[in-house]
Protein backbone atom coordinates (compact mmCIF):
# COMPACT_ATOMS: atom_id res chain seq x y z
CA UNK A 1 0.00 0.00 0.00
CA UNK A 2 1.04 3.60 -0.55
CA UNK A 3 0.23 6.63 1.58
CA UNK A 4 -1.80 9.50 0.09
CA UNK A 5 -1.64 13.01 1.53
CA UNK A 6 -3.93 15.97 0.90
CA UNK A 7 -3.54 19.43 2.38
CA UNK A 8 -5.62 22.55 1.89
CA UNK A 9 -4.76 26.13 2.88
CA UNK A 10 -6.33 29.54 2.34
CA UNK A 11 -3.78 32.09 1.15
CA UNK A 12 -3.74 35.55 2.75
CA UNK A 13 -3.28 37.15 -0.70
CA UNK A 14 -3.17 36.16 -4.38
CA UNK A 15 -0.01 34.31 -5.42
CA UNK A 16 1.36 37.33 -7.30
CA UNK A 17 1.00 39.67 -4.31
CA UNK A 18 4.38 40.76 -2.83
CA UNK A 19 3.58 39.18 0.57
CA UNK A 20 3.47 35.79 -1.17
CA UNK A 21 6.82 36.27 -2.94
CA UNK A 22 8.94 34.03 -0.68
CA UNK A 23 6.31 31.30 -0.86
CA UNK A 24 5.99 31.56 -4.63
CA UNK A 25 9.77 31.50 -5.13
CA UNK A 26 10.02 28.37 -2.99
CA UNK A 27 7.42 26.41 -5.00
CA UNK A 28 9.87 25.35 -7.72
CA UNK A 29 12.75 24.21 -5.48
CA UNK A 30 10.46 22.55 -2.91
CA UNK A 31 8.46 20.65 -5.53
CA UNK A 32 11.73 19.53 -7.07
CA UNK A 33 12.99 18.46 -3.64
CA UNK A 34 9.80 16.44 -3.05
CA UNK A 35 10.14 14.65 -6.38
CA UNK A 36 13.77 13.75 -5.72
CA UNK A 37 13.10 12.56 -2.14
CA UNK A 38 13.36 8.76 -1.70
CA UNK A 39 9.86 7.29 -1.39
CA UNK A 40 8.12 9.94 -3.49
CA UNK A 41 5.54 8.37 -5.85
CA UNK A 42 3.33 11.07 -7.37
CA UNK A 43 2.00 14.58 -6.92
CA UNK A 44 -0.85 16.50 -8.49
CA UNK A 45 0.71 19.28 -10.56
CA UNK A 46 -0.81 22.62 -11.52
CA UNK A 47 1.09 22.52 -14.79
CA UNK A 48 3.55 20.18 -16.50
CA UNK A 49 5.98 23.01 -17.41
CA UNK A 50 5.54 25.63 -14.68
CA UNK A 51 6.68 24.34 -11.25
CA UNK A 52 5.22 27.42 -9.51
CA UNK A 53 1.69 26.79 -10.86
CA UNK A 54 -0.84 25.93 -8.15
CA UNK A 55 -3.42 23.20 -8.71
CA UNK A 56 -6.42 24.72 -10.47
CA UNK A 57 -9.76 23.42 -9.14
CA UNK A 58 -13.42 24.37 -8.65
CA UNK A 59 -13.87 23.26 -5.05
CA UNK A 60 -13.37 26.61 -3.33
CA UNK A 61 -10.91 29.34 -2.46
CA UNK A 62 -7.93 27.32 -1.22
CA UNK A 63 -4.58 25.98 -2.40
CA UNK A 64 -4.18 22.20 -2.59
CA UNK A 65 -1.19 19.92 -2.04
CA UNK A 66 -1.86 16.34 -3.05
CA UNK A 67 0.75 13.58 -3.25
CA UNK A 68 1.46 9.87 -2.80
CA UNK A 69 4.39 8.31 -0.92
CA UNK A 70 5.78 4.83 -0.35
CA UNK A 71 5.62 5.06 3.44
CA UNK A 72 4.82 7.21 6.45
CA UNK A 73 8.53 7.69 7.12
CA UNK A 74 9.25 8.92 3.57
CA UNK A 75 6.48 11.52 3.72
CA UNK A 76 7.33 12.56 7.31
CA UNK A 77 11.00 12.99 6.51
CA UNK A 78 10.21 15.15 3.49
CA UNK A 79 7.74 17.39 5.32
CA UNK A 80 9.63 17.81 8.59
CA UNK A 81 13.23 16.79 7.95
CA UNK A 82 14.24 18.75 4.82
CA UNK A 83 14.51 22.42 3.83
CA UNK A 84 10.69 22.25 3.57
CA UNK A 85 10.48 22.71 7.37
CA UNK A 86 11.69 26.36 7.51
CA UNK A 87 8.87 27.25 5.10
CA UNK A 88 6.32 25.41 7.23
CA UNK A 89 7.53 27.42 10.19
CA UNK A 90 6.63 30.61 8.29
CA UNK A 91 3.22 29.30 7.13
CA UNK A 92 1.32 32.01 9.00
CA UNK A 93 2.87 34.71 6.77
CA UNK A 94 1.09 33.19 3.78
CA UNK A 95 -1.89 31.17 5.01
CA UNK A 96 -4.84 31.70 7.32
CA UNK A 97 -5.08 29.71 10.55
CA UNK A 98 -7.42 26.75 10.22
CA UNK A 99 -9.68 25.83 13.10
CA UNK A 100 -10.60 22.52 11.43
CA UNK A 101 -8.15 19.86 10.18
CA UNK A 102 -6.48 20.97 6.95
CA UNK A 103 -4.41 17.84 6.22
CA UNK A 104 -5.50 14.23 5.78
CA UNK A 105 -3.75 10.90 5.14
CA UNK A 106 -5.08 7.58 3.85
CA UNK A 107 -3.80 4.38 2.28
CA UNK A 108 -4.17 3.68 -1.45
CA UNK A 109 -3.35 0.60 -3.54
CA UNK A 110 0.05 0.78 -5.22
CA UNK A 111 -0.41 2.28 -8.67
CA UNK A 112 -3.78 3.84 -7.74
CA UNK A 113 -4.09 7.60 -8.27
CA UNK A 114 -7.20 8.80 -6.44
CA UNK A 115 -9.14 11.78 -7.73
CA UNK A 116 -9.00 15.22 -6.12
CA UNK A 117 -12.69 14.78 -5.30
CA UNK A 118 -11.89 11.58 -3.38
CA UNK A 119 -9.13 13.39 -1.47
CA UNK A 120 -11.42 16.24 -0.47
CA UNK A 121 -14.04 13.72 0.65
CA UNK A 122 -11.43 12.08 2.88
CA UNK A 123 -10.68 15.47 4.43
CA UNK A 124 -14.39 16.05 4.96
CA UNK A 125 -14.64 12.60 6.59
CA UNK A 126 -11.79 13.48 8.95
CA UNK A 127 -13.45 16.77 9.86
CA UNK A 128 -16.77 15.09 10.54
CA UNK A 129 -15.76 11.84 12.24
CA UNK A 130 -12.23 12.48 13.54
CA UNK A 131 -9.31 10.18 12.70
CA UNK A 132 -10.35 6.71 11.43
CA UNK A 133 -8.62 4.15 9.16
CA UNK A 134 -10.53 5.82 6.28
CA UNK A 135 -8.99 9.25 6.87
CA UNK A 136 -6.38 10.04 9.49
CA UNK A 137 -3.44 12.26 10.50
CA UNK A 138 0.22 11.88 11.50
CA UNK A 139 -0.76 12.37 15.13
CA UNK A 140 -3.51 9.76 15.00
CA UNK A 141 -1.98 7.42 12.48
CA UNK A 142 -3.44 4.11 11.27
CA UNK A 143 -1.15 1.41 9.88
CA UNK A 144 -2.34 -0.56 6.88
CA UNK A 145 -4.52 -3.44 8.00
CA UNK A 146 -5.28 -6.67 6.25
CA UNK A 147 -8.93 -7.46 6.72
CA UNK A 148 -9.86 -11.18 6.46
CA UNK A 149 -11.82 -11.82 3.27
CA UNK A 150 -14.26 -14.15 5.00
CA UNK A 151 -15.25 -13.70 8.58
CA UNK A 152 -15.52 -17.52 8.86
CA UNK A 153 -11.74 -17.76 8.32
CA UNK A 154 -11.17 -15.81 11.49
CA UNK A 155 -10.56 -18.09 14.46
CA UNK A 156 -10.18 -16.46 17.83
CA UNK A 157 -6.94 -17.23 19.57
CA UNK A 158 -7.37 -19.56 22.59
CA UNK A 159 -5.36 -17.09 24.70
CA UNK A 160 -7.97 -14.38 24.20
CA UNK A 161 -9.38 -13.34 27.52
Amino acid sequence: MHLAQLNVARMVAPLDDPVMADFKNALGPINELAESTPGFVWRLKGSEDDPTALVDHDYGDFAVTYSIWESRQALWDFIYRTSHLPYLRRRREWFHHNTVPSAVLWWVEEGEIPSLKDGLERLEHLREHGPTPHAFTFKDFYETTTIPRHISSWVPSPQTT
Binding site: L85, R89, R92, H97
Partner: protein, 213 residues
Protein backbone atom coordinates in the same frame (compact mmCIF):
# COMPACT_ATOMS: atom_id res chain seq x y z
CA UNK B 1 7.55 8.45 34.71
CA UNK B 2 9.63 5.36 35.24
CA UNK B 3 8.98 1.67 34.88
CA UNK B 4 10.81 -1.28 36.38
CA UNK B 5 12.23 -1.96 32.90
CA UNK B 6 13.72 1.52 32.66
CA UNK B 7 15.23 1.24 36.11
CA UNK B 8 16.76 -2.17 35.36
CA UNK B 9 18.14 -0.99 32.02
CA UNK B 10 19.77 2.04 33.57
CA UNK B 11 21.11 0.02 36.51
CA UNK B 12 23.27 -1.84 33.97
CA UNK B 13 25.21 1.39 33.43
CA UNK B 14 26.53 1.31 37.00
CA UNK B 15 29.38 -0.91 35.73
CA UNK B 16 32.15 1.50 34.65
CA UNK B 17 33.26 -0.56 31.62
CA UNK B 18 29.68 -0.87 30.43
CA UNK B 19 29.11 2.84 30.94
CA UNK B 20 32.23 3.63 28.88
CA UNK B 21 31.09 1.35 26.06
CA UNK B 22 27.62 2.88 26.08
CA UNK B 23 29.00 6.45 25.89
CA UNK B 24 31.29 5.38 23.08
CA UNK B 25 28.52 3.85 20.96
CA UNK B 26 26.16 6.75 21.74
CA UNK B 27 28.71 9.33 20.57
CA UNK B 28 29.64 7.48 17.38
CA UNK B 29 28.19 8.71 14.08
CA UNK B 30 28.28 5.13 12.70
CA UNK B 31 27.46 1.66 14.08
CA UNK B 32 30.31 0.41 16.28
CA UNK B 33 31.80 -3.10 15.99
CA UNK B 34 33.23 -5.18 18.87
CA UNK B 35 36.87 -4.71 17.91
CA UNK B 36 36.53 -0.93 17.57
CA UNK B 37 34.70 -0.67 20.89
CA UNK B 38 37.25 -2.86 22.68
CA UNK B 39 40.17 -0.83 21.40
CA UNK B 40 38.58 2.53 22.25
CA UNK B 41 37.61 1.37 25.73
CA UNK B 42 40.98 -0.28 26.37
CA UNK B 43 39.55 -3.70 27.25
CA UNK B 44 39.69 -7.13 25.64
CA UNK B 45 37.45 -7.93 22.71
CA UNK B 46 35.76 -10.76 24.62
CA UNK B 47 34.93 -8.50 27.56
CA UNK B 48 33.68 -5.75 25.22
CA UNK B 49 31.46 -8.26 23.41
CA UNK B 50 30.05 -9.46 26.74
CA UNK B 51 29.16 -5.93 27.91
CA UNK B 52 27.84 -4.79 24.53
CA UNK B 53 25.50 -7.78 24.40
CA UNK B 54 24.33 -7.07 27.95
CA UNK B 55 23.55 -3.48 26.90
CA UNK B 56 21.68 -4.76 23.85
CA UNK B 57 19.75 -7.25 26.02
CA UNK B 58 18.60 -4.51 28.37
CA UNK B 59 17.47 -2.41 25.40
CA UNK B 60 19.98 0.44 25.74
CA UNK B 61 21.72 -0.52 22.50
CA UNK B 62 20.43 -1.99 19.25
CA UNK B 63 22.53 -4.54 17.39
CA UNK B 64 22.58 -5.89 13.86
CA UNK B 65 24.94 -7.74 11.53
CA UNK B 66 26.87 -5.79 8.93
CA UNK B 67 28.12 -7.66 5.87
CA UNK B 68 31.91 -7.42 5.38
CA UNK B 69 33.11 -4.56 3.18
CA UNK B 70 34.88 -6.97 0.84
CA UNK B 71 32.70 -9.46 -1.03
CA UNK B 72 33.48 -13.04 -1.99
CA UNK B 73 35.34 -15.94 -0.38
CA UNK B 74 37.71 -15.09 2.46
CA UNK B 75 35.96 -11.84 3.31
CA UNK B 76 34.81 -13.28 6.64
CA UNK B 77 31.54 -13.44 8.54
CA UNK B 78 29.16 -10.50 8.95
CA UNK B 79 30.28 -8.34 11.90
CA UNK B 80 27.96 -7.60 14.82
CA UNK B 81 27.62 -3.84 15.24
CA UNK B 82 25.88 -1.68 17.85
CA UNK B 83 23.99 1.61 17.81
CA UNK B 84 22.25 3.55 20.55
CA UNK B 85 18.64 2.41 20.95
CA UNK B 86 16.04 4.98 19.88
CA UNK B 87 13.82 4.17 22.84
CA UNK B 88 13.94 6.72 25.65
CA UNK B 89 14.56 5.68 29.25
CA UNK B 90 13.35 7.87 32.04
CA UNK B 91 13.65 7.29 35.72
CA UNK B 92 12.20 9.88 38.05
CA UNK B 93 11.82 9.47 41.78
CA UNK B 94 9.30 10.53 42.91
CA UNK B 95 7.40 9.92 39.63
CA UNK B 96 7.12 13.02 37.41
CA UNK B 97 5.54 13.39 33.99
CA UNK B 98 6.39 16.62 32.20
CA UNK B 99 5.95 15.21 28.66
CA UNK B 100 2.19 14.85 28.95
CA UNK B 101 1.83 18.37 30.26
CA UNK B 102 4.16 19.76 27.56
CA UNK B 103 2.10 17.99 24.88
CA UNK B 104 -1.08 19.59 26.24
CA UNK B 105 0.56 23.03 26.19
CA UNK B 106 1.90 22.48 22.67
CA UNK B 107 -1.58 21.55 21.50
CA UNK B 108 -2.93 24.69 23.16
CA UNK B 109 -0.40 26.87 21.32
CA UNK B 110 -1.64 25.33 18.04
CA UNK B 111 -5.28 25.95 18.96
CA UNK B 112 -4.55 29.56 19.86
CA UNK B 113 -2.36 30.01 16.76
CA UNK B 114 0.24 31.46 19.12
CA UNK B 115 3.49 30.10 17.70
CA UNK B 116 5.06 33.59 17.52
CA UNK B 117 4.35 34.20 21.22
CA UNK B 118 5.72 30.77 22.11
CA UNK B 119 8.88 31.53 20.10
CA UNK B 120 9.38 34.75 22.07
CA UNK B 121 9.06 32.81 25.32
CA UNK B 122 11.50 30.13 24.07
CA UNK B 123 14.05 32.76 23.11
CA UNK B 124 13.87 34.30 26.57
CA UNK B 125 14.22 30.84 28.12
CA UNK B 126 17.35 30.27 26.01
CA UNK B 127 18.88 33.56 27.14
CA UNK B 128 18.21 32.63 30.74
CA UNK B 129 19.78 29.19 30.35
CA UNK B 130 22.93 30.84 29.03
CA UNK B 131 22.98 33.52 31.73
CA UNK B 132 26.03 32.02 33.46
CA UNK B 133 28.05 32.58 30.30
CA UNK B 134 30.54 30.05 29.02
CA UNK B 135 31.56 28.19 25.92
CA UNK B 136 28.93 27.55 23.22
CA UNK B 137 29.85 23.93 22.45
CA UNK B 138 30.04 23.10 26.17
CA UNK B 139 26.63 24.71 26.75
CA UNK B 140 25.08 22.78 23.85
CA UNK B 141 26.63 19.57 25.21
CA UNK B 142 25.25 20.24 28.68
CA UNK B 143 21.79 20.80 27.17
CA UNK B 144 21.98 17.31 25.60
CA UNK B 145 22.35 18.37 21.97
CA UNK B 146 25.53 16.29 21.37
CA UNK B 147 27.24 18.83 19.08
CA UNK B 148 29.80 17.83 16.46
CA UNK B 149 31.68 19.73 13.78
CA UNK B 150 30.89 19.20 10.12
CA UNK B 151 32.34 21.51 7.49
CA UNK B 152 31.36 25.08 8.28
CA UNK B 153 28.66 24.02 10.73
CA UNK B 154 28.18 22.76 14.24
CA UNK B 155 25.58 20.00 13.85
CA UNK B 156 23.56 18.56 16.73
CA UNK B 157 23.22 14.80 16.84
CA UNK B 158 20.50 14.58 19.49
CA UNK B 159 17.12 16.28 19.77
CA UNK B 160 16.47 16.88 23.49
CA UNK B 161 12.76 17.30 22.70
CA UNK B 162 12.42 14.19 20.53
CA UNK B 163 9.08 12.84 21.83
CA UNK B 164 7.35 16.21 21.48
CA UNK B 165 9.04 16.94 18.17
CA UNK B 166 7.54 13.74 16.75
CA UNK B 167 4.12 14.88 17.93
CA UNK B 168 4.24 18.58 16.94
CA UNK B 169 7.27 18.95 14.66
CA UNK B 170 6.66 22.44 13.29
CA UNK B 171 5.95 24.03 16.66
CA UNK B 172 8.64 22.16 18.60
CA UNK B 173 11.36 22.69 15.97
CA UNK B 174 10.44 26.40 15.78
CA UNK B 175 10.68 26.68 19.56
CA UNK B 176 13.98 24.81 19.55
CA UNK B 177 15.32 27.26 16.97
CA UNK B 178 14.22 30.21 19.12
CA UNK B 179 15.68 28.60 22.25
CA UNK B 180 19.06 28.11 20.54
CA UNK B 181 18.99 31.69 19.24
CA UNK B 182 18.41 32.78 22.84
CA UNK B 183 21.31 30.61 24.03
CA UNK B 184 23.71 32.33 21.62
CA UNK B 185 22.34 35.74 22.52
CA UNK B 186 22.82 34.94 26.21
CA UNK B 187 26.42 33.87 25.55
CA UNK B 188 27.04 37.19 23.80
CA UNK B 189 27.18 35.63 20.33
CA UNK B 190 25.31 36.38 17.11
CA UNK B 191 21.92 34.56 17.19
CA UNK B 192 21.78 34.73 13.37
CA UNK B 193 24.35 31.91 13.32
CA UNK B 194 21.53 29.50 14.23
CA UNK B 195 19.26 28.15 11.50
CA UNK B 196 16.70 25.44 10.88
CA UNK B 197 18.51 22.85 8.78
CA UNK B 198 16.80 19.54 9.55
CA UNK B 199 17.95 16.05 8.65
CA UNK B 200 16.39 12.67 9.39
CA UNK B 201 17.45 11.33 12.78
CA UNK B 202 19.13 14.52 14.07
CA UNK B 203 18.27 17.82 15.72
CA UNK B 204 16.64 20.32 13.33
CA UNK B 205 19.00 23.16 14.28
CA UNK B 206 22.52 23.85 13.02
CA UNK B 207 24.94 26.60 14.05
CA UNK B 208 27.38 28.15 11.61
CA UNK B 209 30.96 28.47 12.81
CA UNK B 210 32.26 32.00 13.31
CA UNK B 211 35.35 33.36 11.62
CA UNK B 212 37.40 33.16 14.79
CA UNK B 213 36.84 29.36 14.91
Amino acid sequence: MSSTDDLEALAGLADPARRRLYDLVAASPHPVGRAEAAEAAGISRTLAAFHLDKLAESGLLDSHFQPPAKKGPGSGRPAKVYTRARQERTVSLPPRDYVTLAAVLAETVELLDAQDKAEQAARKAGEKLAAGGGDLIETLRERGYEPYAEGEQIRLRNCPFHTLAEDQPVLVCSLNLALCQGLLQGLGQDPARVSLDPRPGECCVAVSKTNEN
